[in-house]
């Protein structure tokens, strides 16, 4: 072996390898971004960039929430309701005695706790994640509707202006979240989430706490989805108990676009983030090109099927040659 002794050599080399296979995705994202900038040069200003990233930010968060679980071999259908509940809790707690900090803590704890409970049910009772989260999604929607039957509540104006104003705060928050994810993935438990997704029996025999990894994955996923809800509440200036609904399927679509597999352990978070960016840009571009909404939905569906089918077809074609 080469005598490279730099302490970061191995880590850096592994990280660079993880870009492998994502080149095509990076190119497509770049192409769409350029197209977007040509159609709408305003994105190159600070205000335009801020608005664009604000539209992307909640989708990026819920995509991370979804990809985290898909990498662990699961899936969640409770993303949308958690976003709604996060928005509702933000809008109903921020006028309380603890103010905005209290509201943020309440949203974060709710997301963590609900995620952990779902995770514990999935991990310890060995029930399928798709069923448990489907049931959870109904219950969470019900709770959100009890807390706030109609859109309303209170979000301080300064908070909306800070998060969703003319400054790229949302983008900076996304950078912070990504750095936190990198740090988490550099812990034994973070890698354990991957290992338990790809080969649960092998990971268990290697000494990875497979069940704990699953509970932690669900808890973090719940946290991210609830925080996305808080952001959406700030964006709209109020709480809406059903505002999160489209996020459930969009989070799955973005993760799949980013190359995250359904069977666990396959894919990367950076791919998923690119997938969410691509989906966000695509929706915007089609809007600016004047596609009618129906065509937008159909195009979105075709692109997602294509994103999954093309790599498979390429693989089969290469295998034949």
């Amino acid at each position: 072996m080469s005598a490279v002794s730099s302490s970061s050599w191995l880590y850096g080399a592994i990280q660079r390898r993880r870009n492998r296979g994502l080149g095509g995705l990076y190119l497509i994202v770049a192409a769409f971004l350029i197209l977007y900038a040509v159609l709408f040069p305003g994105i190159l200003s600070v205000g335009g960039f801020s608005k664009f990233t604000q539209n992307w930010f909640p989708l990026a968060l819920v995509t991370m929430a979804q990809a985290l679980l898909m990498l662990n071999g699961g899936i969640t259908l409770a993303i949308g309701p958690l976003v709604s509940l996060g928005a509702v809790i933000a809008a109903t707690t921020m006028d309380g005695v603890f103010g905005v900090p209290g509201g943020i803590v309440a949203v974060a704890l709710t997301g963590l706790a609900i995620g952990a409970v779902i995770g514990a049910i999935v991990a310890h009772l060995r029930l399928p994640a798709i069923i448990v989260t489907l049931a959870g999604s109904f219950i969470i929607t019900g709770v959100a509707l009890i807390l706030l039957p109609r859109p309303g509540g209170f979000i301080p104006g300064w908070l909306s202006n800070t998060l969703a104003g003319h400054t790229p705060v949302a983008f900076l928050l996304l950078v912070v979240v990504l750095v936190a994810w990198k740090a988490f993935l550099a812990t034994p438990l973070g890698l354990g989430i991957y290992a338990a997704g790809d080969n649960p029996v092998g990971a268990f025999r290697s000494g990875v706490p497979v069940e704990r990894a699953k509970v932690v994955a669900f808890a973090l996923s719940g946290l991210l989805a609830a925080l996305a809800g808080l952001f959406v509440a700030a964006q709209t200036g109020s709480g809406d108990p059903v505002i999160g609904t489209p996020f459930t399927l969009n989070s799955i679509a973005a993760a799949v676009l980013g190359g995250v597999g359904f069977l666990g352990g396959k894919g990367t978070m950076r791919g998923a983030i690119c997938g969410s960016l691509l989906l966000s840009v695509m929706i915007n571009v089609m809007f600016f090109l004047g596609f009618p909404p129906v065509a937008q939905y159909i195009a979105q569906g075709l692109i997602i099927v294509g994103a999954v089918a093309v790599p498979e077809l390429l693989k089969a074609w290469r295998a034949k040659r």
Partner: protein, 502 residues
């Protein structure tokens, strides 16, 4: 040699799954500086014993002792803390993670809660040098060939600096060169005082490396002794031989009829370039260790997986069946080993399972013929001695009776060739006898029965001819008096026996 205190012991351990006992009071003691062999046929309980010794399973009764002290609840983490490492037959690797991360998984060095990649790099570099892994450490395991992955698995065990190292079939996917490196490594570790447990179907390796042997048979220990002075055939004798009683019907006088299946240069899946033939009225057994191509041979003949042959004739037609429909039309039927998933629709009734392959044939003008179906069901149930209400769901039946349904559903097609994959696995003894009688009956009616089996006595006492596969090739073809457990197990394990190899 000094008799040192065992590092790891199992004392009178019992373990069963779903009321089916697998280990019935097993003792084993692993001592430092000794390579201990664990031998036994498929299903003798070796894997279960390893899982108990490594904390992956808990014994129903009996104890696991480390350094002479019984341990309470044993887990993989506790086993690692006690210095026990296992090289599993089923690899424990994560495809998308790098070689280094896989080796460290579950035992990462940490700094401030994060993985210490610099420290990991040093440790991994050392163990990779020991096993001759020269690939870049940041390479994902998915990019490695199976043999190299096995070496990563071995490096992973060594990274844990074990006092006790358990190797389960470590050489099954290794090249001769890699196996040589491993053999050297085992000797080094032994001389350093590591206790090793070595499981292998390659008896020459066992003889070369090991000094002590424990033999498991049907969940019990039949030998626990030094290996000095025992040759390959002696080892085989320790592993086989059990009372068969009157389980098997008498063999009919061999009077095979016309050729039903004949292939030359046949390849399918794991099977490489073999010749195979069978005549009407014969029961032909296919033996060998697990996963040597038995299933692929059956599936290839059945047109269920891509197969090719230099020359083939099936049911008097040239060429192999192109697909399952063509095979059925030619009179071939297949009963899979995994009856719960491939052979039956479990929640449906016995009756609807029985008529499934005949629905189209019985239909009139596109509508089902209820009266015809009822008659057929009654006839089949009588013929197969399936007792009780045929409206019950199939999953309510015992494993043996499920197997009878999986077999019976094909009979209305009047098949000329039956391909059976391990038809008596998990079947109780009484039903086994009924199935054997049925198969004998089929042969007497002039059908060809081809049966792949992991049960050696079944091959010996039921079959007219036995083909033993090893690594996708024919290791031996035995007929009549030459069929014995010793001959089959010997051929399966690659021991040359005079006059047995074809």
């Amino acid at each position: 040699m000094m008799d040192q205190k065992p590092l790891l012991e199992a004392r009178q351990v019992f373990k069963g799954f779903f009321g089916n006992p697998v280990l019935k009071g097993v003792d084993i003691a692993l001592r430092p500086g000794r390579v201990h062999a664990l031998l036994g046929e498929n299903g003798a309980g070796k894997s279960t014993l390893i899982n108990l010794l490594s904390g992956a399973l808990q014994p129903d009764s009996g104890t696991i002792a480390v350094d002479g002290k019984p341990v309470g609840r044993f887990s993989p983490a506790a086993a690692r803390a006690s210095g026990i490492a296992v090289v599993q037959q089923e690899l424990s690797l994560t495809a998308d993670l790098s070689i280094a991360e896989n080796i460290g998984l579950g035992a990462f060095p940490r700094r401030f809660g994060l993985i210490d990649y610099a420290e990991l790099h040093r440790g991994v570099r050392d163990v990779c040098a020991m096993v001759g892994l020269t690939e870049p450490l940041d390479m994902p395991v998915a990019d490695l060939a199976l043999g190299r992955r096995q070496m990563v698995e071995i490096a992973k065990a060594l990274y844990r600096k074990p006092r006790v190292l358990i190797l389960d079939e470590p050489t099954s996917s290794l090249s001769a060169h890699e196996a040589g490196i491993l053999a050297g490594l085992i000797e080094t570790l032994r001389d350093r005082g590591t206790a090793l447990l070595y499981i292998s179907h390659r008896l020459n390796e066992v003889q070369a490396l090991c000094s002590h042997v424990t033999v498991l048979k049907d969940g019990g220990v039949t030998a626990d002794q030094s290996l000095s002075g025992i040759d390959g055939e002696g080892l085989v004798r320790l592993m086989v031989g059990r009372e068969t009683g009157d389980l098997f019907p008498p063999r009919a006088s061999a009077n095979p009829g016309a050729l039903r299946v004949e292939v030359e240069g046949f390849s399918a899946g794991l099977v490489r370039d073999i010749g195979f033939s069978g005549r009407a009225g014969e029961i032909v057994g296919i033996g060998g260790l697990v996963g040597q191509g038995q299933e692929d041979l059956l599936l290839g003949l059945y047109g269920a997986i891509p197969a090719k042959a230099a020359k083939a004739e099936v049911s008097s037609k040239p060429g192999l069946p192109a697909n399952v429909g063509a095979a059925n039309a030619a009179g071939l039927v297949y009963v899979p080993a995994d009856r719960k998933h491939e052979g039956l629709v479990l929640p449906h009734s016995i009756a609807s399972n029985l008529i499934l392959p005949s629905l189209g044939r019985l239909a009139r003008n596109g509508f089902r013929d209820r009266a015809g179906e009822a008659g057929l069901i009654a006839e089949l149930a009588k013929r197969l001695t399936i007792k009780g209400d045929v409206a019950r769901p199939v999953q309510a039946l015992s494993g043996g009776n499920q197997q009878k349904v999986a077999l019976a559903k094909w009979l209305p097609l009047d098949p000329s060739v039956l391909l059976l994959n391990d038809p008596t696995r998990g079947v109780d003894i009484e039903t086994k006898r009924e199935i054997y009688l049925m198969l004998r009956g089929f042969a007497a009616e002039g059908r060809l029965v081809i049966i792949a089996s992991s049960d050696t006595p079944e091959l010996v006492h039921l079959c007219d001819r036995v083909v033993v596969l090893r690594e996708g090739r024919v290791a031996a073809e035995l007929a009549g008096e030459a069929i014995s457990e010793e001959a089959i197990v010997g051929a399966a394990m690659g021991i040359d026996r005079k006059g047995a190899a074809a």
